[in-house]
Symmetry: C2
Subunit: 257 residues, 2 copies
DNA sequence: CGTGCCAGGTGCCAT
DNA sequence: ATGGCACTTGGCACG
């Protein structure tokens, strides 16, 4: 970590340009207004905010409350910096879609550049992908005798989460949800079934921790089955075994065939 | 704006606790690892990051790249601060769902508290709501002679965006999309039509700037019509008139009747 | 409070 | 590039 703080007297524009040139991350705190034009359009009146300008050309404007940024521009944006009389202008533009974010400062309370080294690995568990992996390795988690033929089977409208055979040899199409299975999930499964020859030809199974409120009736109407699957249970299966380490990622890698 | 920077020697824990007690926003830059457990679970190995701790009890961890935070906890979280030997611990817990975020610092490059005053008004334009407002005020934008009977008509599965009559007096159900109308939107409209007596009884119209890729065929299959509506055109209608200022919001406010 | 739907959604990976 | 889809989705409005 290397720090850069030229002080405000040295100039907002100088510091900011230096940081951007050197691909440093800049932390700004100041009183500003924000105007955004692009897919939509927004205005934010003057107030105190925190602004992050990152090495990759992204910018995020945070109010002193709330989880979400009030305005932003994604990585790859191009910055323009200007001093306009008493005010400082920071503009971030991206193309495709053409969007522009303009931050106008009346006061800058803090500006500081940092060279941050962050190569730490991030890993997320208990995702739908992990559920799919677990069910591929231990299909019994879905039902005894179930065999996975293909995870991510492509069908005309999209991708089936799991495709396999039950112990009687019938084809099974599985729609997997990490959260409660809702109406859209069920309708999606139904579409897949239709494109695979209809209900007579394949079994339709919704695998999820539970069903959403209105989903039960829809399930029955469409003649689909619900199988309870616990995401944490799936994650545990993966972490408790070491078969995952290599063999699974390879196996899952073949799903595109 | 009031600034608080006691310096590191004064103690990470002291400063942080003071800031949280006084409901200040804290900016932190340091080398840390992050562990999250809750709906899912994640680990982030050591690296340099920026942490925002806001007045409302939210915390956001940013890597030096990317638009999205790598870890976070929403407003209302409860913080626990501890010094563990050479390391500093910042833990944010929320209930419902029960989730915990733990940031462990080995180095703190900067820590600073700010009392930020931000009452600036934020407004976003050209939302789906504004399109609906525009079409309600100028139904001709949809098609000549169209009349809106009710925005947001409630039907068993949900709410119809616009409900009205065409110039021949036929009932029209409109599904409105600010972006390209996709399959789910079309299926949704179809559900509404079924619950209103089926295709013979009402016209089904998808109003959007354009159709998503595979949507055309589905539209035809279901016997629905597509009407191009330009969000910018809608915005112009709203901005070029001042009828919006009060009267419309009141009118729209009655939609729940 | 749960439930449903929108978002400047974003991100990831597929063809 | 575009399409399909998950996300610790978050957010809001409504029953």
């Amino acid at each position: 970590m290397e720090r850069l703080n030229l002080g405000l007297e040295n100039g907002f524009t100088t510091l900011l340009k230096t940081c951007l040139d050197q691909k440093k991350t800049v932390l700004l705190v100041g009183r500003c207004k924000v105007d955004y034009v692009g897919r939509a359009r927004s205005t934010l009146e003057y107030g105190d905010r925190i602004i992050l300008v990152k090495e990759d050309g992204s910018i995020i404007v945070h109010r002193p409350y709330g989880y979400q940024p009030v305005n932003w521009q994604p990585p790859g944006s191009v910055f323009h910096i200007k001093k306009m009389g008493e005010r400082y202008l920071l503009k971030a533009v991206r193309r495709k879609p053409q969007e522009s974010l303009e931050v106008t400062f009346t006061h800058i309370y803090m500006i500081q550049g940092f060279s941050l080294k962050d190569e730490g690995k991030f890993s997320l568990h208990v995702t739908e992908l992990e559920m799919k992996e677990a069910l591929t390795l231990k299909p019994d988690l879905l039902e005894p005798g179930f065999k996975v033929l293909r995870p991510e089977k492509p069908v005309p409208p999209g991708f089936v989460d799991l495709y396999g055979l039950d112990k009687e040899g019938r084809r099974v199409v599985v729609e997997l949800k990490r959260n409660a299975a809702d109406r859209p999930a069920i309708l999606q499964l139904y579409k897949y079934i239709e494109s695979l020859g209809g209900r007579g030809a394949v079994r339709g199974v919704v695998a999820a921790p539970c069903l959403a409120k209105g989903a039960q009736r829809l399930m029955e109407q469409m003649g689909l089955e619900f199988k309870r699957v616990d995401p944490k249970e799936c994650a545990k299966v993966l972490s408790s075994t070491d078969w995952r380490t290599r063999s699974l990622s390879e196996y899952m890698g073949e799903r595109t065939v």
